[in-house]
């Protein structure tokens, strides 16, 4: 019993140590991947982004057709800040837009918005 515990502790320790010294890119990449995943969840959640109400995006089921499909976003929005601005308040670019001003009206928090941007940028 006691021995097993010791081994376990050593394992944890080893993980902590290696974790601390892995290449920063790998950590960032892992963090990025989880940002994208979370962003996708928020985008699809009816109580959050509910982007599918209007946009076809990714593999989201039963999208509406009010808005253009979100495709090739990286090439269409090389500047991520522009993409964020569109989601923050679509009426800046188009005063008649029906797209809700997600940032300006606090529909989403700043960090939720950042995550959505990461996800949308992968489409």
């Amino acid at each position: 019993m006691k021995r097993k515990y010791l081994v376990g502790a050593a394992g944890v320790l080893a993980a902590v140590i290696t974790g601390a010294i892995v290449a920063p890119q790998a950590v960032l990449a892992a963090k990025g991947a989880s940002m994208v995943e979370e962003g996708k969840k928020i985008a699809f959640d009816r109580k959050k982004g509910n982007c599918l109400a209007c946009h076809m995006m990714g593999d989201g089921a039963s999208p509406g057709n009010i808005a253009p499909p979100l495709l090739a976003m990286k090439s269409r929005y090389p500047d991520k800040a522009k993409l964020r601005a569109q989601i923050w308040d679509a009426t800046t670019a188009n005063p008649d837009s029906t797209m809700p001003p997600f940032g300006k009206h606090n529909i989403l928090s700043a960090s939720e918005l950042d995550k959505i941007v990461e996800y949308v940028w992968t489409l």
Binding site: G64, I66, P68, T91, N94, D96, T98, P101
Partner: protein
């Protein structure tokens, strides 16, 4: 790309008929008629009384099946009984509305004496109160019975909302309703027009957005979602809430003026209430 182009054209059209300039009610109506004619060239003018089912083929089939056994029928029957049952003082609705019960086409109208838009629901309650009865609630409950009966008896009569020229306050009420219709509200920042004009015929998630013209012809409406019949102002409340806006008071000034404006745009169409919706 084609779709994007089509969209921006629609947007421009929507701008063209937005509320920035004060236009005559006739011009407003002509602009709406024109907008819908271009958007739905295949829909005959008199089919707009069927609401979203004028443009949603799949929904229409389900709806027609429902109409074979109308879920609002018991409400009509209950309303007929209300109409024929005297109040405690021996009088009844018949005494207030000698031309009734087929009177829905006379509402909403401008009441010059009271200086306000008079709706059918309000007139029915005024009748009750004048006879010492408690007023009915304006969204749910038995007001829907009497409204269903009056609507049913009024079927086939034509909507004919008048904005009288001899009282500037009538035009003000109309303009107020129009402003309401085009004002964005709620956290989601939609106006009524965003959905029912600009995006009529488009799909919001799984809901087809119906045209505003003809929307008032069939109230009160049995909704499966409600499991009962509800008033027009209950529906207004729901449409306000779904954009996270605070709803207004049923039969308050805002919704009465809104009803006045919205009903005018359906002038010439036949009444066909009560209706059934999902």
């Amino acid at each position: 790309m084609k779709k994007l182009l089509a969209m921006s054209m629609t947007l421009m059209m929507a701008v063209g008929i937005s509320s920035n300039v004060v236009a005559s009610p006739e011009a407003d109506k002509a602009a709406w008629d024109n907008h819908y004619k271009q958007r739905f060239p295949g829909v005959p003018a008199d089919d707009y009384i069927n609401g979203v089912y004028a443009i949603d083929k799949v929904g229409r089939e389900n709806w027609e099946a429902i109409e074979e056994f109308p879920p609002y029928e018991p409400f009509i029957d209950a309303g007929e009984e209300m109409w024929n049952t005297p109040f405690a003082n021996g009088k009844g609705y018949k005494d207030c509305f000698p031309k009734g019960p087929a009177i829905a086409q006379n509402y909403p109208h401008w009441d010059k004496e009271k200086g306000m838009v008079m709706t059918l629901a309000l007139a029915l309650n005024n009748c009750r109160e004048a006879n010492g009865e408690k007023p009915l609630k304006y969204k749910k409950g038995s007001i829907n019975n009497i409204l269903s009966y009056v609507a049913y008896q009024s079927r086939g009569n034509k909507i004919n909302v008048v904005i009288p020229k001899d009282d500037p306050r009538a035009m003000e009420a109309y303009e107020d309703g129009k402003k309401f219709y085009y004002t964005r509200r709620g956290q989601l920042n939609f106006s009524c027009a965003s959905c029912h004009i600009q995006n009529a015929g488009n799909v919001l998630r799984t809901e087809v957005l119906g045209p505003a013209k003809g929307q008032i012809s069939h109230f009160p409406v049995y909704r499966s979602k409600w499991g009962t019949v509800g008033t027009l102002h209950r529906r207004f409340t729901g449409c306000n809430k779904q954009v996270r806006a605070a709803p207004f008071k049923a039969q308050g000034k805002e919704y009465r003026n809104l009803e006045y404006f919205l009903s005018y745009q359906s002038n010439g169409l036949e009444l066909n209430g009560p209706g059934a919706r999902k």
